[in-house]
């Protein structure tokens, strides 16, 4: 009888109202919250668009009237298009990694997790290059409204990608150590949701900050 009671308690313990694991609900709530976070950042950029009193500017060249120094348009669409492509491909790799974990395919789960992390790191490399070249071209976070809003929006996105890469590396480490099983698929799934969300945010940022003149 005591055993029956214990078994029942354990059955209770794993019961969830929706049948979904807690982490999945929580990540969706988190993503909802993050939408408002990035919406606030992007809106600020758009509100301040064209209001900087000094250059350099995103899409047009500018000559400083006091020094006569010439600054070209800051944004480099071809380079960022390439980095956008890299990030979007990482989402594909993420999907393949999740699918490999679900069928206990250790070889391919490791390959695709590593690929996702590598593509994420490549994106961060692009961003580091982009930030450095912008600073060389005369745009710092303190320069003008464009600099402040641009660096903070893309910087926070980059921070999210960094967290994602660390998460991927941790998962890859666990996979190398003991092999991810279908029981771990939910954890990969939650990570994938985060990763795809960060990608989608980049699509919004690329469109609204880079492409719209």
């Amino acid at each position: 009888m005591a055993t029956a009671a214990v078994a029942e308690h354990h059955a209770d313990h794993h019961y969830t109202s929706t049948g979904l694991p807690h982490t999945k609900i929580a990540i969706w709530a988190f993503i909802g919250s993050e939408c408002f976070f990035f919406a606030s950042l992007i809106s600020t950029y758009l509100i301040y668009k064209g209001r900087s009193v000094v250059g350099p500017f995103p899409h047009t060249a500018w000559t400083d009237p006091s020094t006569g120094q010439h600054f070209k348009a800051i944004l480099n669409i071809p380079v960022t298009s390439a980095s956008t492509f890299v990030l979007l491909m990482s989402s594909l790799a993420m999907v393949l990694a999740h699918s490999a974990v679900e069928r206990s395919d250790h070889k391919w789960s490791r390959i695709w997790l590593a690929t996702t992390a590598l593509l994420g790191t490549t994106f961060l490399g692009f961003q580091a290059y982009e930030f450095t070249s912008f600073v060389h071209e005369g745009l710092k976070i303190t320069t003008n409204l464009f600099g402040s809003t641009f660096f903070i929006t893309t910087g926070f996105h980059g921070a999210h990608v960094t967290v994602g890469v660390l998460w991927l590396c941790t998962m890859l480490f666990i996979d190398m150590k003991r092999g991810l099983t279908p029981r771990d698929a939910i954890n990969v799934d939650v990570m994938a949701l985060y990763w795809h969300f960060v990608d989608v945010v980049w699509v919004a940022i690329f469109t609204l900050l880079y492409l719209i003149q």
Partner: protein, 626 residues
Amino acid sequence: MATTVAAPSLAGPKHKYEGGLWSWLSTTDHKKIGQLYLYTAISWFVIGGIEAAIMRTQLYGPNGRLVSADTYNQLFTMHGTTMIFMAIMPLSAAFFNLLIPLQIGARDVAFPRLNAFSYWLFLAGSLFMNVSWFWHAAPDSGWFAYAPLNTPQFNPGINMDFWVIGLQILGLSSLAAGFNFITTIINMRAPGMHFMRMPVFTWSAFVTQFLIVLAFPIITVAVTFLLFDRFFHTTFYELSAGADPLLWQHLFWLFGHPEVYILILPAFGLVSEVLPTFSRKPLFGYPVMVYSLILIATLGFGVWAHHMFAVGMGPVADSIFSVTTMLIAIPTGVKIFNWLGTMWGGNISFRTATLFAVGLVCLFTIGGISGVMHSSPPSDLMQTDSYFIVAHFHYVMFGGSMMGLFAGVYYYFPKITGRMLNETLGKWHFWLTFIGMNLTFFPMHFAGLNGMPRRIWSYDANQGWDLDNHISTIGAYIIVIATAIFLYNFIRSRGHGAIGGNNPWDAPTIEWSMPSPPPAYNFAKIPNVTSRYPMWPATGPSPLSPPVPTAGTDQPLPTHPTADQLGIPMPTATIKPLIATIGLTLAFVGLIWHRQIPIVLLGAAIFIASLYAWVLTPLEPEHTEH
């Protein structure tokens, strides 16, 4: 029908985490975390109250010189910030923690360690902001800290640095708790606990969590901009760089107005529990009460600019925000009438909890009506930034939120501690609070309409404000006395109050089915819920008899079998959330204290290391079946 836990007296072996300071530092039990929230929030309520009492003493007569103008700025900023972020919100959080799992039939929240982390962050953020007093450098730009008053150009001291960082930490705490409670309510309801059977407090908590997770990111962004302006010289609020000072106002109030509902909805929920129990009737119009909560929350995101009529947004924007603000009065009015409908024809028993709940219905209505008055821009232009506004939001926050929360404290104290609060002292507390609060805040309407601006540190005689201010100050002292009575009652009754038993009020919801205080595992067997009011018979409750126990006693509380004895797996106690909080706080201390990068990095390292240690450790000890 909910099952009650049998209460045989079994003395189990003591777990190493039971009892003592260590058990509080390492707890992951939602009831203990709820109590930590409760005690901390009451402490901040007292401190915020002392700040208010000093201000009222200063304003008692014309040309008061008790404190300097500079100190006065710090006092009103910290009074507002403390009461909102460190008293009312955490008091609500105390009830979220204490009640949500009990009301939905769960053993704990979805993420017990994240829950502990939320509490420690709240404690860290509130302490962080308040240590500024020791340098006489408390934040001083007002609780909504308008740009450019908050920028380094106009506020070069360290004061607003404390505010910026303290608010970020408090925001993280609320967000973490928000994700946790949303998951808990969606995913941990007992079998049969459909959404439309959930107790209305849990509904109000559910809606509030959505407001929190959607509104706090906005203030996080606004404050992050300010943090960058102050620490790294960016230009977000820098007027000479072309920044728009209204950016802060829009972002702040986009958060700030939902925040108002974050403060009031939990109190509405508590009142919706108290009134049915003491009227011996089910809540009138349960579904409409739920829909109106959702409607208030949704509309709450579309009214923010009514705080900004005076900045000249133009007739179109003014009209839109005026209309949405008037609209939001409709679901709020629905709630008021449904509470009246609940009491109507009921067998009302006027306990202290009932009094406070009825107090909310009366006083919030007054605050609500003055709110509708300044939803009209022409009228608002006469009232804005005057004491009329101060009167309005104190009727809403004190007459509304605090009254509701006090009702909750009196109602749930026996469930939380096993003992009753003293009713006689409780009634003294209520009547003195009620009288004191009206004396304090009602005359402010007249002072405001006679032109007294808010936030002035001193005023000249013969402007027609003297009498109003005399009365206000006397009223404030009466509130101080009332609060002292409450504190005495609260502390004394914890050890010596009458023993309440499982369900001293013959209340209808399932949190009353278990022993008081609940054992660590809450429900020995997860209940199967079949109705909205499982503890009441289908024919309706009988009048509140036998009479509620009142005689204080030093008798020990009955004991119950432990989780180990019942074989219920429980989360392991852990100190990692506390260490993570210390790391994060250390990083922020390094930032504010001469920008010490090594300290920032050390704090970040501690934070990340403890986060990894926490996430990679299973929540519960391994069981044979795993």
